[in-house]
């Protein structure tokens, strides 16, 4: 019972004129049915308040004609181009250049990130945007452990972000603990919640897992809104202490950092400090994740994504493996949350809606294949790109959506379309995305 060789995809070149015309007529018919009510008839209120309608058969005919013509053009393009694949889209020399560029892009990005506060010292807007991008890079890297490596679809990641933020806010405002004491505590508390989420969802896979994690994210948010005594409810928590430079506050006056260093005070100091702080936290996340991938636990995560049954047959405890993935992801989410709280100085449940979870998940998916570099690029594209399209005003979301759709057509498995092996004997060959599984929850 040898596996049958896959039949080559039939080339569309053989499609004749009749086929193209047939397809165009069908498309035109569909367009006619769809648009006959949407465009063909327009309802208007008359003077006495009654609803009347006018017909717009001219416009309708134009739309149908456009669809008919467009369908023919698309089919002819396909005929001329042949089956669309990577080689057609980018010729080999371009791909070779891209490969070299791909190797240099990570160090280049890192150096650029380190230099951002130097280059853009005067532009507060850029610095703030940089901090925002780096926060999402860190969140993306954290979620990447759960979604990208372990293949567990988590739609409630923002819950851990919230736990981290509220942990820091409450510990700091209630017990007067400093940022550096609270940071590990916030991370640990979030990790505990990660384990707590992990337990009930251990048996769930795929869509069911996604739904429960989504619900978990909402539960945390609703608890925060309703537990007025502790969290301040919808009013949030204000007056959260700002971070200190290892005990030295970044304030004007004799005790501030500027006075100690003998330089004039500037509010930008704090922004720059925050920038380097989140950069350090993000790089810590990255370093730990890269190390973990090469440790047995990281390989077990990836093996779990590939085939859970085989994992069990090899004596891997899938329960603890899943829980550690959830806990590790949550830990980094908690760190990011604590940073968010100290940066804003004020937090409320509004910052932790499902939209945030969706955004972080979109970053991980767009990044692709559990790749760290992919996540960083995707965060830059999603957050930075969104700002870039500000000039389009109300069309911003539209343009952004179209760009996302095109990107996913061009790169269905994310920006980085291959997996790097964790260990190799002779050659460090990237593994094609066709072979790597997405995980089933």
């Amino acid at each position: 019972m040898t596996a049958p060789a896959p039949t080559p995809p039939s080339a569309t070149r053989s499609a004749g004129l009749a086929f193209i015309l047939k397809k165009a007529v069908i498309s035109a018919c569909v367009a006619l049915i769809l648009f006959s009510l949407m465009i063909g008839i327009r309802t208007l209120p008359s003077e006495n308040g009654q609803l009347t309608y006018t017909t717009r058969f001219g416009e309708l005919a134009a739309m149908v004609a456009i669809v008919f013509g467009g369908s023919i053009v698309v089919e002819l393009l396909r005929l001329w181009w042949g089956p669309v694949d990577r080689v057609k889209l980018a010729p080999p020399p371009v791909q070779a250049a891209l490969d070299i560029g791909g190797r240099l892009i990570a160090p280049a990005l890192l150096i650029f990130a380190l230099l951002v506060p130097v280059i853009f010292y005067q532009q507060r807007y850029i610095l703030d945007l940089g901090i925002l991008v780096l926060t999402y890079v860190m969140l993306g890297w954290g979620l990447n452990v759960v979604v990208g490596l372990a293949g567990l679809l988590d739609l409630g990641y923002v819950a851990f972000y919230a736990v981290g933020a509220y942990s820091y806010a409450l510990l700091a405002t209630t017990f007067g603990l400093g940022f550096w004491e609270c940071l590990p505590l916030a991370g640990l508390l979030a990790a505990c919640w990660g384990v707590m989420l992990g337990f009930p969802v251990l048996r769930l896979r795929g869509d069911y897992l996604a739904i429960v994690t989504l619900a978990f994210g909402e539960i945390i948010r609703l608890v925060i809104i309703n537990w007025q005594n502790l969290t301040g409810g919808p009013n949030g928590i204000s007056g959260i202490p700002r971070p200190t430079f290892f005990g030295i506050p970044l304030v004007p006056g004799p005790n501030g950092l500027a006075a100690k260093f003998g330089i004039p005070f500037s509010p930008t100091h704090r922004i720059v400090f925050l920038f380097y702080l989140i950069l350090a936290l993000a790089l810590l996340t990255n370093w730990v994740t890269i190390r973990l991938r090469r440790l047995p636990i990281g390989r077990a995560w990836e093996a779990l994504r590939e085939d859970e049954v085989a994992c069990r047959a090899l004596g891997i405890d899938t329960t603890t493996t899943k829980l550690t993935a959830f806990a590790t992801g949550a830990l980094f989410g908690g760190f990011a949350g604590a940073f968010f709280a100290t940066r804003q100085g004020f937090i409320s449940p509004e910052s932790f809606t499902f939209q945030e979870s969706a955004l972080v998940l979109a970053i991980v998916v767009l990044g692709g294949m559990g790749s760290q570099l992919g996540v960083a690029l995707a965060a830059l594209a999603m957050i930075g790109g969104f700002e870039l399209f500000r000039g389009f005003d109300q069309y911003r979301m539209l343009v952004f959506g179209i760009v996302m759709v095109l990107l996913m057509i061009w790169r269905p498995r994310g920006l980085v379309g291959h997996r790097a092996p964790t260990v190799f004997l002779e050659h460090n060959r990237a593994i094609s995305s066709d072979l790597v599984k997405e995980g089933h929850g």
């Binding site: 190390r291 069990r312 047959a313 405890d317 004997l425 593994i431």
Partner: protein, 276 residues
């Protein structure tokens, strides 16, 4: 239970609703021997395997694994992953279950998970890069390399497992199971889809596993050239019931076995199975 017995299955039964897949099955497998489980399609062989390796919970009966150094495990009471981790029973699957997106080397590294977890101090020492961990990792890579060398895949160590030809995937799956250092290796149709030359190579490999590693082997196989040549002992199942049990020569001449394969209108089946 004699001291040479590694696995003893007693009165095992497995029911799915009203269907009895395995009915009051008893047999033993001897230490450092190759035991084959054969029977027509649907006889319940894979069900027995799934009971032994913990993927099914048996409806009744007991399965004991007795390592030669004393003690025993009641396999019907252990959960899936513990059977591999504690009782040291490894298995392969009828439809190959490698990690296709990981390299051949990575597949063998994942198989050494439990040993490496201990060596990495449950991740903590590994994260900090302790020398003991580095040494353990080198050893693990060395073991993986030696297995890749044995199955002739050393030059493809860094290729994705999913990209390997079918026969290579079969061998890699066996090597992966062996990397867990099992006492008992359960192979579900290891020769399925292999050509005559590959089957012969598989025979040699299984014999060397038995002789050099002292691993006992339990295998399900339809390919009689494999079964008759390497088995020390054969158990024949039909409709969930054991119909014969003995040395290959005795099984070949057993009237019940011949009836099960030929006498009940399954004539095409054995012809088809003979050529796989």
């Amino acid at each position: 239970m004699s001291p040479d017995t590694i696995l003893s299955v007693d009165h095992l039964s497995m029911r799915f609703g009203g269907i009895v897949a395995v009915n009051d099955l008893s047999f033993t497998a001897q230490h450092k021997k190759i035991t084959a489980l054969i029977g027509p399609n649907g006889a319940g062989k894979t069900t027995v395997f799934n009971c032994i390796t913990g993927f099914y919970k048996p409806s009744g009966g007991s399965i004991r694994l007795a390592p030669p150094d004393g003690g025993y495990f009641r396999l019907e009471r252990l959960n899936d992953f513990r059977i591999s981790k504690l009782a040291k029973v490894a298995r392969t699957f009828q439809n190959i279950r490698l990690f296709p997106g990981m390299t051949a080397l990575e597949n063998l590294m994942v198989a050494q998970h439990n040993a490496l977890m201990r060596a990495s101090g449950f991740t903590l020492l590994g994260l900090l890069g302790f020398p003991t961990w580095r040494a353990a990792e080198r050893d693990a890579i060395e073991r993986a390399r030696s297995w890749l060398d044995r199955i002739g895949l050393l030059d493809r160590a860094d290729d994705a497992a999913g990209n390997l030809p079918y026969g290579d995937q079969r061998r890699l799956e066996i090597a992966r199971a062996m990397c867990t250092e099992p006492m008992l290796l359960c192979l579900d149709e290891p020769a399925a889809g292999l050509n005559a030359r590959e089957s012969a190579a598989l025979n040699e490999m299984l014999l060397s596993i038995r002789n050099d590693h002292g691993t006992s082997i339990l295998l399900i196989e339809h390919d009689m050239s494999v079964v008759m040549e390497i088995s020390d002992h054969i158990v024949v199942l039909d409709y969930g019931v054991k119909i014969a049990d003995g040395a290959p020569r005795a099984i070949r001449d057993d009237a019940k076995v011949i009836a099960a394969y030929l006498g009940t209108g399954d004539g095409e089946e054995i012809a088809a199975e003979g050529v796989t």
